[in-house]
Structure formats: C-alpha cells, structure tokens
C-alpha cells in the first residue's frame, strides 16, 4: 500500500502544473494497478505456499563443451490455495537486474532455468528473470504436510542448464551465483 500512496501524492502535486497530461498518466497507472491485481489471481487470505527441499547445484568441472550441461532436482512445492492448489513461481538470479548469470571475477556465464510442476522431470517451462510462471499446480495442499513429509516427497522439478554455446564462449574460471525462487498462491 505504501507505494500506491506515494504514487497518488505525486499525481496530486503534478496535476496542479499539468492537469490533462497527468490525468492520462494517472489513468494508465490505475489500469496497470488493476491489471496487476487481476493478474495476481484469486488467492485469498488463508492461502499458504511453501517451497522446500532445494539443493545447491554444483556442475563441477566442465569437460564437454559440445553439449549442454544440465542439472535437475525434485523438490517440494506445497500450495494450499483451494480449489485447485495453483501457484505461480518467479525466479531471479544474482546477475544485474536478476539476470541468470554466474560470475568469475568480471567474467560471466549465463544459465537457463526451467520449471515443471511435476517431480522427476529433466525439462520444463522456461523461466525468465523476474517474470512469474503462472498456473502451476501442486498435488499437495490442505490437509498435507507443508514439507511434503506426508504424501509425495516431491512435487516439482527445477532444471538448470548451461548451454554449450555459453560454455564455449566463457573464459576459464570458477563461476558461482545464486538463484532465488519466490512462490505465491493463485
């Protein structure tokens, strides 16, 4: 709510100087805000999500530069958001602007992120930095343990890919970075 209040204050000050132009801007902002609310889905106050079972990804020393290096892991995605237990997931890397980049000093190595709402997958839907992937479904919701300790132990897959072209173009070095995953009910 704070950003919205601040935005409204800015509008009020600007309208005295140039009412018609800022009125149009205000209309755009209202529409954008409404779109953001609608796009957030019908999550209600009692909805709860949890992501757990994540493991660090260590590719080790790359020996094959002609093929992609792929690491996948299954994890627990709990979503108590009836009736469908749907969720959205947003990923951000440690590169500028959340870019999916590993770094070694000033050198960088891009990686790709894929997500599947099924466990045991080695491919999924491509995630883009800071762009939510919507309409994902969890089989674990109300009545189940939020760490998947009851029922299926894992419910989703995370896939990290180092493309061969990126590996070939990268300078030798030890690269590292972080990936953050934010989930929200839908």
């Amino acid at each position: 709510m704070a950003p919205l209040s601040s935005d409204t204050g800015s509008f009020e000050r600007g309208r005295d100087r140039n009412g018609s132009r800022l009125s149009a801007l205000s209309a755009i902002r209202v529409v954008a805000f409404a779109f953001a609310i609608l796009n957030a889905g019908p999550a209600s106050a009692g909805d709860t999500v949890r992501i757990s079972g994540l493991s660090d990804v260590a590719f080790g020393s790359i020996s094959n530069f002609t093929g992609d290096s792929v690491q996948s892991q299954s994890l627990c995605l709990y979503s108590k958001s009836p009736p469908a237990n749907n969720y959205r997931i947003t990923a951000s890397g440690s590169g500028p602007g959340g870019a999916f980049l590993l770094s070694s000093g000033s050198a960088t190595l891009p990686f790709e992120v894929q997500w599947s709402d099924l466990a045991g997958q080695t491919a999924g839907s491509q995630l883009l930095p800071n762009r939510p992937l919507t309409a994902q479904h969890s089989p674990v919701g109300a009545g189940a343990a939020d760490d998947c300790s009851s029922g299926p132990g894992t419910t989703a897959s995370l896939v990290i890919i180092l493309r061969s072209g990126s590996l070939s173009a990268a300078s030798s070095g030890s690269y590292s970075g972080t990936l953050s995953l934010l989930v929200a009910p839908e």
């Binding site: 949890r50 530069f65 180092l162």
Partner: protein
C-alpha cells in the same frame, strides 16, 4: 541462562560454518506463508582448454624445382583462457622431428609457418619442438562451427633450392601440431 545458551548456539554455528567452507552458500528453504522464497547456489568450473581442428592434408603434387612450393590452409584454434591465448608447437617426421619429407632414402626439407589469423599466406616460422606463444584466437566455438569459421593459418613451404637439390622421387611425411592454453 538464555543469553549463554544463545551464545553457545551462535558459537557452534560459527564453528560449523568455518568447518564447511561451502556452508555460506547452502540452499535456503522457504517457510510457509502467503509467499515463500527459497534460494540455491549454482557453481561451475570451466577449465582452461584449447582445440585444434579443420586441418587438411597438404599435397603439393608434381612440383617445378625452379619455383618454391607453398601451401597455406585455414585452421580453427579455440582457446578459452581469459586472453584466448595459446601456444603452438610443431614437429615433423624426420630425424629428431625435423621438418623433412622422405622417399625412404632421400629427404627434402620444408618449413612451417603459423599465423594467428585466417587467410594468411605467410606467418611466423616454427622451429620443430619449440612452442610459438603470444597467439590469440578469435574462435568462440571449439570447432569454429559458430562464429568465425577459422582462426589461424598454417603455411608449409619448400624452397626452390631444396627442390633443386632433391632427387626426383615421391616424398611423404607428417607434421604434428600441438596447441596449449596460454
């Protein structure tokens, strides 16, 4: 007592972190709530590598002894060191790895030159068994299948004097090239 307990836990945590260098980057698990956030570390080591490809056999055919014979070819050298640097070392199949062709009895000497870019008809003379350094590759792919299609030139040359001194015959030899990251 509670403060002492907290200090002990803090100390144990610190000791554990020191004992496990990778612990600072350990995955974090999300907690249950209206949103949940987890994070992981990702690491990869890209070792220093080079690759030489695109070599073709050199066939001079029947040569005119009054004219020097030269054959140049474009090759691909890929290096992933920070400066894309590499060294190249050549050895021949003659005695003590000399650059000579042979018919089984007689020999013809030849020279080898290397240029760090493609499309060249002359370069720096190589000495058998001695690396030539200070070279940098423009290749972005190990086999030049993407980016520039070649990144260096190999030049093999037989002088007119050597050809005039040679006994008429058919000569054959091999040239071995080794590239290394630099």
């Amino acid at each position: 007592m509670k403060t002492v307990g907290n200090r002990k836990r803090w100390l144990l945590t610190a000791v554990a972190a020191l004992a496990m260098p990778g612990a600072a980057y350990a995955a974090t698990q999300g907690t249950a709530g209206s949103t949940s956030t987890g994070s992981i570390s990702i690491s990869a080591t890209v070792p220093g590598r080079v690759q030489l490809s695109g070599l073709s056999d050199v066939a001079f055919g029947t040569v005119d002894p009054t004219v020097a014979a030269v054959q140049a070819e474009d090759v691909c050298v890929w290096s992933n060191t920070s400066g894309r640097g590499y060294t190249v070392t050549a050895t021949g199949s003659g005695t003590s790895n000399a650059f000579t062709l042979s018919d089984g009895t007689n020999t013809i000497p030849y020279s080898v030159e290397w240029a760090g870019s493609s499309g060249q008809s002359s370069g720096t003379a190589l000495v058998s068994g001695t690396g030539l350094g200070g070279l940098s590759s423009s290749a972005t792919n190990p086999t030049c299948s993407a980016g520039p299609i070649a990144s260096a030139s190999l030049i093999v040359r037989m002088s007119a004097a050597s050809l005039q001194a040679a006994i008429a015959s058919s000569y054959l030899g091999t040239l071995t090239l080794v590239v290394a990251p630099q």
